[in-house]
Symmetry: C2
Subunit: 215 residues, 2 copies
């Protein structure tokens, strides 16, 4: 392994360890000592990569933003209408938040910190939601009179709320909660003809498994 590969590997381990500490204890309580020892490296090695905890947090957010893009970019497939795409996208986000501590820590850092952060994952998430609501309007699958702004705010507000509430109770971040949310919301959003074909639990595309049918 070259020196460059070793450095990249250490940086990845530090980002993961920092995400675990932020997720467990919150940003302020996480210490640089815990972050370096969690990654199995010295405090000096940490300082070779990062000047401060704020810089580690930025790296967590950047890594989370890259993963979010990689995972979500493929979801709103052209095979499904935009409202199904939006439903699938939130299922995909929740699955990603559950299994990837870097994305979860980055998302929470970004939502809770306000202006501190450089990479705003909440804003990035809002952009995905907004894009699909626009596509639904173009497809004319929204029910008459539905406000696009209202839909975007409702979906972004609820998903951010689910993530924050899941800190105290993991039930908030499950397929069951997301499916319940869409069962409640979709009848308002979709025109009746579209509604009949929508799956609040997400299509197999949402779950990333071509063999699996919607639960």
């Amino acid at each position: 392994m070259s020196q460059q590969e070793r450095a990249a590997r250490t940086q990845t381990a530090l980002i993961r360890s920092a995400a675990e500490m932020f997720d467990r204890h919150g940003y302020e309580k996480a210490s640089l000592n815990d972050i370096s020892s969690g990654a199995g490296v010295s405090r000096g090695a940490l300082h070779f990569h990062f000047d401060s905890k704020a810089e580690v947090a930025c790296a967590v957010e950047s890594a989370a933003a890259r993963t979010l893009r990689r995972v979500l970019d493929g979801v709103p497939s052209e095979e499904v209408c935009a409202l199904q795409g939006l439903t699938d996208l939130t299922h995909r986000l929740v699955r990603l938040l559950l299994r990837d501590v870097v994305v979860r820590a980055g998302f929470l850092l970004s939502c809770e910190a306000g202006a501190r952060v450089r990479t705003d994952l909440c804003q990035q998430w809002r952009t995905y939601v907004h894009g699909l609501v626009l596509r639904a309007a173009e497809e004319k699958t929204l029910a008459p009179g539905v406000s696009q702004e209202g839909v975007v705010n409702t979906v972004v507000g609820a998903t951010v709320g689910f993530v924050v509430l899941s800190r105290a109770d993991k039930q908030w971040l499950t397929a069951r909660t997301v499916t319940g949310f869409w069962r409640v919301l979709l009848p308002s959003l979709a025109d009746p003809l579209t509604m009949a074909g929508l799956e609040p639990a997400g299509t197999r595309l949402a779950h990333g498994d071509p063999r699996r049918t919607a639960p």
Copy 2:
């Protein structure tokens, strides 16, 4: 002023100052020095009332919970149906969060901290929402097939999300956002006959001004 009155007044000033620091800088960054000087008292006077920052935070949450009860208990008036009561209640919550820094800080502490807190304002808020959804089911004003659990989770998730997102952008915590949310949601929840009489912007009861008609 008796010694007891002076002590009570100092305690109230400390709780308010702590709420302002938590609201502005977050729990971890707020210092006991800033809290005492914000209240215009010495560090010694603070320690006469509170042993630690965690204890100050508990006092903020308890004070917030008392205000929440006092303001919300009167809202779901018997004059309106439960779904209008729920709409009014969220408007009232948002107005309260906007103007009362102690409630805002207490609510955010409670939502973000997970298990740390003794008084769980998010849970208290959930209880109000749950009670009104139950009443709506008893009144048979919910649309057929609507899941009570789904409605409760959607309303609690979205309101918590709005509060958290408002840290970075105050637009999330406005009557406009709440009205937009209900315009999107109510057509799914309410049976069509009830829907015709509902006001997503809240009735005058929500805004606590008997002279004011719904905006």
